[in-house]
């Protein structure tokens, strides 16, 4: 199963992941990122670099894996590839603190 971006990315969009991804499988919406599951090669390099642990191997999800893969696939079809790191959203730090607690 591929890796997917979860809702943790919403309001963050740190984009450390896109710099390390070897296959440019990230797609950017205004509020968050998605992984194209058909391009992801499961190298897992993006997992440890995400400040909010927003990326998971779908295999590790207890529930909703298929839905999350489908969402990532569908949004990736609609959105442009993001291959260069950009600044996090202004809400990122607050969101990161909220996720930590």
């Amino acid at each position: 199963m591929p890796h997917v971006v979860t809702d943790h990315c919403a309001a963050c969009r740190y984009t450390e992941c896109v710099a390390i991804c070897p296959v440019d499988c990230f797609h950017a919406a205004d509020d968050r990122l998605y992984i194209d599951p058909d391009v992801c090669i499961d190298c897992a390099a993006c997992v440890p670099v995400c400040p909010v642990k927003a990326i998971v191997d779908a295999f590790d999800l207890e529930a909703g894996a298929d839905e999350l893969i489908a969402l990532n696939r569908q949004r990736s079809r609609e959105l442009p590839v993001i291959a260069e790191k950009t600044a996090p959203l202004p809400t990122a730090e607050a969101r990161r603190q909220a996720l930590k607690s």
Binding site: M1, P2, I20, P22, V23, D24, V39, I41, D42, C43, A44, A45, V47, P48, V49, D57, F59
Partner: protein, 688 residues
């Protein structure tokens, strides 16, 4: 790989972000290596068979008892039939200078056992490569960023060489064109500017036609050819018949496309070719590599960083193969058995005396990787065969063992790694204590040497001594590299020029007999051979059959032949490439990887599926005269018309019909270096 340890347990692994080649990335096989280490089915203790062979019923015994049993049984066999009745069987399930390819060679060479010719992977390509350009590391993989034109030939980089991809991607961003030559549609081919799909096993016709066009159209770098090659005039005359039209008829690729490929490859300098191990897997697989290895010299691609040919950077490492194999311990004249012939060897099919009475398997799972699966099962089931298997898991092969010995994983042992894919040495330090009573391969052979009474201290060398004595630390490529550096940094790039300026053959200097690229190969005079690296250091009993001195097209033996015959029994050509998540049979028992791969699939083209009434997700039986397996059909253009594709690595015990694609694979070897011909395989497919 960085290993995270908490309270003596591995809790996670990740790529080392500081490593210039891997850049913090792992792969689908290794990204959760801790799940392999702590897998509930790890073998943790020596065990003795307590039920019929193949049923996997065992009872725990002590190491002392296991070793004493081995010594006793082997001595009896040696007394009766001589030591060649014992056959070691191994490859690279565990990698590393200490515990990998050669770990058992000194022991078995001293024992006088039959020598294993291990031509599992790239031996055919290596013979061809060495005949043409010598054992050179070839172009630096990192220099690919400077390439203007890249051909990935029979190489699904995103699945099997993923760390190379970012360098290719950078080249593309800089304007390089990427051509992928592969009959199968893959994730890598999806990235290509041009995907060419030759019929399986016809690649040599394509390469020879490229040579034809480059010479006929005057696109040769005459200066480079004059100074750094031999045999150009003969090659020039020889390729007259290999026209693009000839190649088009063989490969199915349009002649004009072939012409343009040759033109672009010649003109866009520096141009690079990366060949994958799949390239050798048909009747003429060696000659394909002979032809391809001539191309970079013809167009002067070697002149600049980013130009040339990339096969195995292994040749850059100053490995002391003499110390690793200890071929000097071999009894002169000892017979050699090719490991693709194991099924025949165990069932009297090779007509050799004495028959094999004892088999010692480590670092390998032949029931999944070797051809002739049914016959191999019959051989392994022999009650009179004494089989010892050293393993991490209860593999399909392990189920047939008389004795099972538990082996450590990579995080439970020390090692030093050279690379098949880059120019860095890596030090692998033990991260956690061994699980249960598992031991490293090096320790296994120390114990076996004691049991057999070998008092030469060489057989009791510590891992640390093996590690230090197996490289030539005084070689120029090792200058500046110390154990201290490896301890602190974990890796070290060989002392070679930086990738941005490294053009190893800008001024020739090929390590061939003539010092030049041998388009006409002087080494062909001795006939076909396997490099001693792949046969425990032995150079005896080489095949020696005639080899054309000039690159020559040899059509597939099975694939594509049947479809010329109406009503042929096996009209489809099967390929069984590596799976994305498995490394041959390794990881086939890990849930994460198994879930990602799903059940054994068979990709079939709509044209072939339609006439057979097959739809996606139907169960199909794939068969030929050698065997059959059952797969889930996936109808689509991943497979070209006339070709079916069955990714390999699934285990028998978890497969429908308890058989896998290897059951259909031929045992016939290719034209050079004992390569298998698994992509030269005629089959039929039907609904179950």
């Amino acid at each position: 790989m960085l290993v995270k340890v908490e309270n003596g347990k591995v809790t996670g692994v990740q790529g080392n972000p500081a490593h210039p080649f891997t850049q913090g990335r792992l792969c689908a096989k290794t990204s959760h290596y801790q799940e392999r280490v702590y897998h509930p089915e790890r073998l943790l203790y020596p065990m003795r068979r307590s039920g019929p062979k193949g049923t996997g019923t065992f009872e725990r015994i002590s190491w002392d008892e296991a070793l004493a049993t081995i010594g006793e049984r082997w001595r009896t066999i040696i007394d009766t039939d001589g030591p060649t009745a014992i056959l070691p069987y191994s490859y690279l399930g565990t990698q590393g200078i200490v515990n990998g390819l050669t770990v058992g060679d000194p022991f078995f060479n001293k024992l006088g056992a039959t020598i294993s010719e291990r031509t599992f992977c790239d031996s055919g390509a290596s013979t061809a490569y060495v005949m043409t350009v010598g054992p050179t590391p070839g172009m630096d993989p990192e220099s690919l960023v400077h390439s203007r034109f890249i051909i990935l030939w029979a190489c699904n980089v995103l699945s099997t060489n993923a760390h190379l991809w970012p360098f290719i991607d950078t080249a593309r961003r800089n304007g390089a064109k990427l051509v992928v030559i592969d009959p199968v549609k893959t994730g890598t081919t999806a990235m290509a500017d041009l995907h060419l799909r030759p019929r399986p096993g016809t690649d040599a016709a394509l390469a020879l036609a490229m040579i034809h066009v480059i010479i006929r159209e005057g696109r040769v770098d005459r200066d480079y050819v004059d100074r750094h090659t031999i045999g150009f005039d003969e090659l020039s005359a020889h390729v007259a018949a290999y026209t693009p039209e000839f190649a088009a008829a063989e490969t199915g690729i349009d002649a004009e496309v072939i012409r343009n490929l040759a033109r672009d490859y010649a003109s866009a300098q520096p141009s690079a070719i990366r060949i994958g191990v799949a390239i050798e897997r048909s009747a003429g697989g060696g000659q394909v590599v002979r032809a391809i290895a001539c191309l970079p010299a013809l167009v002067g691609a070697w002149r600049r960083p980013g130009g040339g040919l990339l096969q195995l950077p292994l040749w850059a490492f100053p490995v002391r193969w003499d110390r690793l194999h200890r071929a000097d311990l071999t009894t002169p004249g000892t017979r050699v058995i090719n490991q693709w012939k194991l099924g025949a060897a165990l069932t009297g099919g090779l007509d050799r005396e004495p028959p094999i009475r004892a088999l010692f398997v480590y670092n390998s799972n032949p029931l999944v990787v070797a051809p002739d699966q049914l016959r191999l099962q019959q051989g392994l089931a022999r009650e009179d065969l004494f089989t010892v298997v050293s393993e991490q898991f209860m593999t399909d092969t392990a189920r047939y063992a008389d004795l099972l010995l538990p082996a450590t994983t990579q995080v439970e042992q020390d090692d030093l790694m050279f690379s098949w894919g880059h120019l860095y040495l890596s030090l692998n330090r033990q991260a956690v204590a061994a699980q249960g009573e598992a031991i490293s391969n090096a320790e296994l052979f120390r114990r076996l040497a004691t049991v057999m009474g070998y008092d030469d201290p060489f057989f009791q060398r510590s891992d640390e001594t093996i590690l230090r004595e197996s490289l030539d630390w005084d070689a120029p490529s090792m200058r500046g590299i110390t154990m201290e550096l490896l301890e602190t940094q974990g890796y070290a790039r060989l002392n070679l020029p930086a990738a941005d300026v490294f053009a190893p053959h800008a001024d020739g200097g090929f390590p061939t007999p003539s010092g030049k690229v041998e388009m006409k190969a002087s080494m062909a005079a001795g006939g076909n051979f396997v490099l001693p690296t792949f046969r425990q250091g032995s150079n005896e009993h080489q095949d020696g059959s005639p080899v054309p001195a000039l690159p020559t097209y040899r059509p597939p033996r099975e694939s594509g032949v049947a479809d010329a015959v109406p009503g042929a029994r096996y009209p489809l050509a099967m390929m069984s490439p590596k799976s994305h998540s498995f490394l041959n049979s390794s990881y086939g028992n890990l849930r994460r990887q198994a879930v990602r791969e799903g059940e054994q699939k068979l990709f079939i083209n709509p044209a072939d599926a339609g006439v057979r009434g097959i739809r996606s997700d139907d169960l199909v039986r794939v068969r030929n005269a050698r065997g059959a397996f059952v797969a889930v059909a996936k109808v689509g253009d991943e497979a070209m018309p006339g070709v079916v594709v069955a990714p390999m690595g699934h285990w028998l015990a978890r497969s429908r019909a308890q058989a896998t694609p290897a059951a259909l694979n031929p045992t016939v070897l290719g034209d050079l270096g004992g390569a298998p011909t698994f992509s030269d395989n005629a089959v039929e497919v039907e609904l179950v």
